[in-house]
Amino acid sequence: MKQGLLSALFIARKDLRTEFRTKEALNASVSFALVVLVLFSFAFDLGRDEFYDISGGLLWLVYVFAGALIVNRSFIREVPNDCLDVLIASPMPAWSLFLGKVIASFVLLMIVELVSLPVYGLLNNIHWVDSFWPHLGLMILATWGITITGVAFSAVTVNVRLRELMLPVLHYPMLIPLLIGAMQISTALLKGDGGDLSADLRLVVVFDAMFSALSLYLIEFILVG
């Protein structure tokens, strides 16, 4: 168990290091998020109060689109030179390989989100500073849900033809309960009206717990067979 966690961290470090050397996925994802933000400002010509009502929803749409670019790369980057086969043949269990990949994607997506949140606030006149800390907590929870399901599907579709098409078709519908919860909490936090968010929060946590357990358990079948 402990050994498995250590190898997961090892994989995560390896992935992050290769990513930070080229910054390919990170740059693409951040600039994509910014483009979507600009498009949103043109798509909705709303008053300030009205914009607050949909602020959480838009924010999470940006995050999910940006996240797709990152989780997409997660397993595919191991395909050239047959790296994936070597990783699977290595003595580490499949779940720690998977967990490492999830941690790496999670860190990258968190970076994208933390960069785009201030830009989002700036472009749309949204006050995000006051609610930053609770919002960060929410982002950690929901981003974990996005990455763990996304990387699981990335592992699943790694050998599929048309995988760039398949991944969103499979991944986005799956995320709907998580996003409904996260969007509601975000809107409430940005608007600054408390209200009872426990049900939404529970939804996000249950989603995380359930899919973490399921994918860590089932990934063995997918990668090793």
């Binding site: 399901t149 699981a152 699943v156 579709t157 050998n159 599929v160 033809r161 048309l162 995988r163 398949m166 078709v169 499979l170 519908p173 799956m174 709907i176 309960p177 998580l178 409904i180 919860g181 509601q184 049900a199 939404d200 939804l203 249950v206 989603f207 359930m210 899919f211 399921l214 994918s215 089932l218 079948f221 997918i222 067979g225």
Partner: protein, 226 residues
């Protein structure tokens, strides 16, 4: 032998449906508040329940496949899911037509509509993904994985929309609240049974095709080797 089973199931299901149609059209009175269209319930709700039952069966088959690696379970799972999609589609279409008259709208994002729609979309992804996988073992494993994931997601979708259930269009479920008139219970049950019979027949046909497809795959590989 298999042929006979398929025909028996299909024909008995169809006969039951026709008998039920007679009851619905000739015997049952119109629904008090809604008129004739209230009888849509007797096909709309059983279709939804049949679809849900079949999704559960499919997940059971998927789990069995992962456990045993027996391809029969994979064929069964995909066949059952396809038939379940048909029933979910019937549920959505009849519901939409019913809603157009009674609610005045074709569609709304009420809890049950959204859940049915999400089920349809999730398993549509499953069916779209299968042809994109060439190798039989891989296809079966990944399909089972996706089917289990989708099934785990459905209660969460349900929960998520219930949390924000400000826009409920449906009345309370007739079976939970027990307000369904006893005279309607029998046709309701018969509809469900008939759907399950027809569904099993269709699924058996589909299983056969899936097996034939795997045979084609292995023949192609054999040819390639020669």
């Amino acid at each position: 032998m298999r042929d006979k089973t398929i025909y028996t199931l299909g024909i008995s299901g169809t006969l039951l449906l026709l008998y039920n149609l007679h009851t619905i059209l000739m015997v049952l009175p119109d629904e008090a508040a809604q008129g004739t269209i209230g009888k849509m319930l007797l096909i709309h709700a059983p279709a939804a329940i049949a679809g849900m039952t079949l999704y559960f069966v499919a997940v059971a088959y998927s789990i069995m496949f992962l456990k045993t690696k027996n391809f029969a379970y994979d064929s069964a799972a995909v066949a059952v899911i396809e038939v379940a999609q048909v029933f979910t589609l019937i549920n959505l279409v009849t519901g939409s037509i019913w809603g157009h008259i009674i609610w005045g709208i074709w569609w709304t994002w009420d809890a049950r509509l959204t859940r049915q729609f999400m089920c349809f979309m999730l398993y549509l992804g499953y069916l779209l993904m299968r042809p994109a996988l060439n190798e039989a073992t891989q296809r079966a494993t990944i399909s089972a994985f996706v089917a289990i994931f989708a099934a785990a997601d459905i209660p969460l979708v349900w929960l998520a929309i219930r949390v924000h259930d400000a826009r409920t269009q449906h009345p309370g479920p007739v079976l939970e609240t027990g307000t369904l008139d006893p005279a309607w219970r029998i046709p309701f049950l018969i509809s469900w049974i008939a759907f399950m019979l027809i569904g099993s027949a269709l699924a058996m046909v589909r299983v056969r095709q899936e097996n034939a497809r795997r045979e084609i795959d292995s023949l192609r590989r054999e040819l390639h080797a020669i």
